[in-house]
């Protein structure tokens, strides 16, 4: 065991994203945006996307506040999203998200990791001005349902 904490969870790669996140801030000319929180722990994530005419994510930015896992995973997700098509983003599952994060997470901490994923899925359906490029309005509900299955509720 490392003297500097859980070698899996608080590894350098994750702490790097936490301390020096990718695209933390406002997205220039954002087309889509959404924000949500996890009231149980107070984590909050705001995501802004610029989706181009071809339906691809040009840029993805986030801001927010919360634990290391919620913030580091958001940073990783922003990096991953850029260049993906809307369809690919929609197909990016909770399991893909947990895999992207990498470290093993207990069910309660999976919620922290999946917050940014949930916000991104909802953002696809939250155009700032133009029409909804993502189409299917049922997808946000599907995402919420998929996340509930992936991760149990914390007691309050």
């Amino acid at each position: 065991m490392s003297i500097d904490g859980d070698p899996e969870l608080y590894q350098e790669r994750i702490l790097d994203h936490y301390e020096d996140p990718y695209h933390r801030g406002a997205c220039p000319d954002a087309t889509h945006a959404h924000e949500d929180d996890n009231p149980l722990c107070g984590d909050v994530i705001h995501v802004e996307l610029r989706i181009n005419g071809q339906g691809r994510v040009d840029e993805a930015w986030f801001s927010g506040d919360g634990c290391c896992i919620s913030q580091a995973s958001a940073s990783m997700l922003m990096e991953k999203l850029e260049g993906m098509s809307v369809q690919e983003v929609k197909q990016f599952s909770t399991q893909d998200m947990l895999q992207l994060f990498g470290a093993r997470l207990t069910p309660n901490r999976q919620k922290c990791c999946l917050l940014s994923w949930r916000v991104v899925q909802a953002a696809l359906h939250a155009p700032i001005e133009a029409t909804d490029v993502a189409g299917d309005p049922g997808a946000a509900a599907d995402a919420a349902s998929a996340e509930r299955e992936a991760s149990p509720q914390e007691a309050s």
Binding site: D6, Y10, D16, I69, R109
Partner: protein, 425 residues
């Protein structure tokens, strides 16, 4: 030679009664259990009593003519008597077994509340209440149009009692207050609040979930009209709790859940409720958990509640001073003299969940989050905190190890440059 009960409490021989405290976690780390405000552990005497009950005494209560049912009923009623004695209630039938403190408070809200409250009537709570002493009253307000108001807090986490005279109006029907904050550890002056509430014509419900397990409780002297608490926070099994209510009040209240046990007779056109306490114990009650609770009470009485209080007070003072020295650590609540064995804090710039996760690697179980007190956390200006909560089986050595673990948390989160320096240095 001084009698045993006068000697200070020594946790070490008592720890041997708690099998779970010998657990090693994450390989070789001794478990340090600091989540006692959420639920305590059980001594083997309580665990064995559950086995004995199922192996030797178990049948449904208040039903059978047969020998086993009479045995079970006697033990169940003896358990009620031991609760009565433990909290200083006048009558055994003033003790109603529920599934826990939450159910007990909801019982009062749904019966006394639904019967008594009129639009504009007021219920006075405090800003430090657990959700279980907020939400039932908010639900009652939705049903009846009554108004829920709150006693504010001082910056060091005490009740702002100078506001009480203004908040107690002729419309105030109930003051529902926790005896001890489950986050701040603040010990509230229940006796004074009750006297002022009664003078204003209001009843008093005390949430005793964090006080009954740790200190002497005397409901009559405290002026509590109702008190609610849970067995699992005082060495007992989960699934049993207690509502104490003054006889006169319980008698006047309508029954709560309908079903078996709570009736005197039923016809096709109606029912006649049973006398106390059966009136509030519909269905098969938590028989075995109640027996386990009585064994837990016997265990606590054998140690002595005064000794438990003074030991926990010493340990809390020790923890408070140790934590106050940790750099970047912000403690909430009053100084140790005015608090129970609960210490909540945040480490500057580090989320509570990250703190709890890293100290867990050292085998230390602390709580992270809002501890079912979101309004209180809003008042403190934070979304989450860490909480270490003690019982008589915790030791100073364990507190020392929490201090060391918190310093490790800070090393993990130190800025990268510094961290590299710390590793090489």
């Amino acid at each position: 030679m001084a009698p045993i009960s006068a000697l200070p409490l020594d946790p070490m021989p008592l720890r041997a009664d708690f099998p779970i405290l010998a657990t090693k976690v994450h390989g070789d780390r001794p478990l340090i259990y600091f989540d006692n405000a959420a639920t305590t552990q059980r001594p083997r005497q309580v665990i064995q009593s559950l086995v004995d009950a199922y192996e030797q005494h178990y049948a449904n209560v208040h039903r059978g003519i047969h020998w086993l049912s009479e045995q079970s009923t006697d033990l169940y009623e003896e358990a009620r008597e031991s609760v009565r004695r433990f909290i200083g209630a006048e009558h055994r039938h003033e003790v109603v077994f529920t599934t826990g403190a939450t159910a007990a408070i909801n019982l009062v809200a749904r019966t006394w509340g639904d019967q008594q409250m009129r639009p504009g009537d007021e219920i006075l709570l405090t800003e430090m209440e657990h959700h279980s002493n907020i939400v039932p009253w908010q639900q009652l307000a939705e049903r009846t149009g009554c108004v829920v108001r709150f006693i504010p807090l001082t910056d060091d986490g005490r009740l702002e009692l100078s506001a009480l005279d203004q908040l107690l109006t002729e419309r105030t029907r109930l003051v529902a207050v926790t005896a001890v904050s489950n986050v701040l550890g603040t010990v509230n002056p229940v006796r004074e609040i009750a006297a002022r509430a009664h003078a204003a014509g209001a009843l008093v419900l005390v949430d005793g979930a964090q006080s009954v397990p740790h200190a002497v409780t005397r409901v009559a002297e405290d002026g509590a009209d109702f008190i609610a608490f849970s067995g699992h926070k005082m060495l007992g099994p989960s699934g049993v709790g207690v509502l104490y209510g003054r006889e006169q009040l319980l008698d006047a209240m309508p029954p709560f859940l309908g079903g078996g046990s709570m009736i005197r007779r039923v016809t096709l056109t109606g029912f006649e409720p049973a006398d106390l306490p059966a009136k509030f114990e519909a269905g098969t009650p938590p028989i075995v958990p109640a027996l386990g609770l009585s064994v837990a009470i016997a265990y606590l009485e054998q140690i002595g509640m005064e000794r438990i209080s003074s030991y926990e007070s010493m340990l809390t003072g020790y923890a408070y001073e140790l934590l106050a020295r940790v750099e970047g650590l912000r403690l909430f609540g009053p100084p140790p003299s005015g608090r129970s064995g609960i210490v909540s804090f945040v480490l500057q710039g580090i989320h509570a969940h990250d703190v709890a996760q890293i100290v867990d690697q050292d085998g230390i179980a602390i709580r992270a989050g809002h501890h079912c007190a979101m309004p209180l956390h809003k008042r403190l200006g934070i979304s989450a905190s860490n909480r270490a909560s003690f019982y008589f089986y915790n030791t100073r050595d364990e507190v020392d190890r929490l201090g060391a673990a918190l310093e490790r948390v800070q090393r993990v989160f130190r800025r990268r440059g510094d961290r590299t320096g710390a590793l090489t240095g």
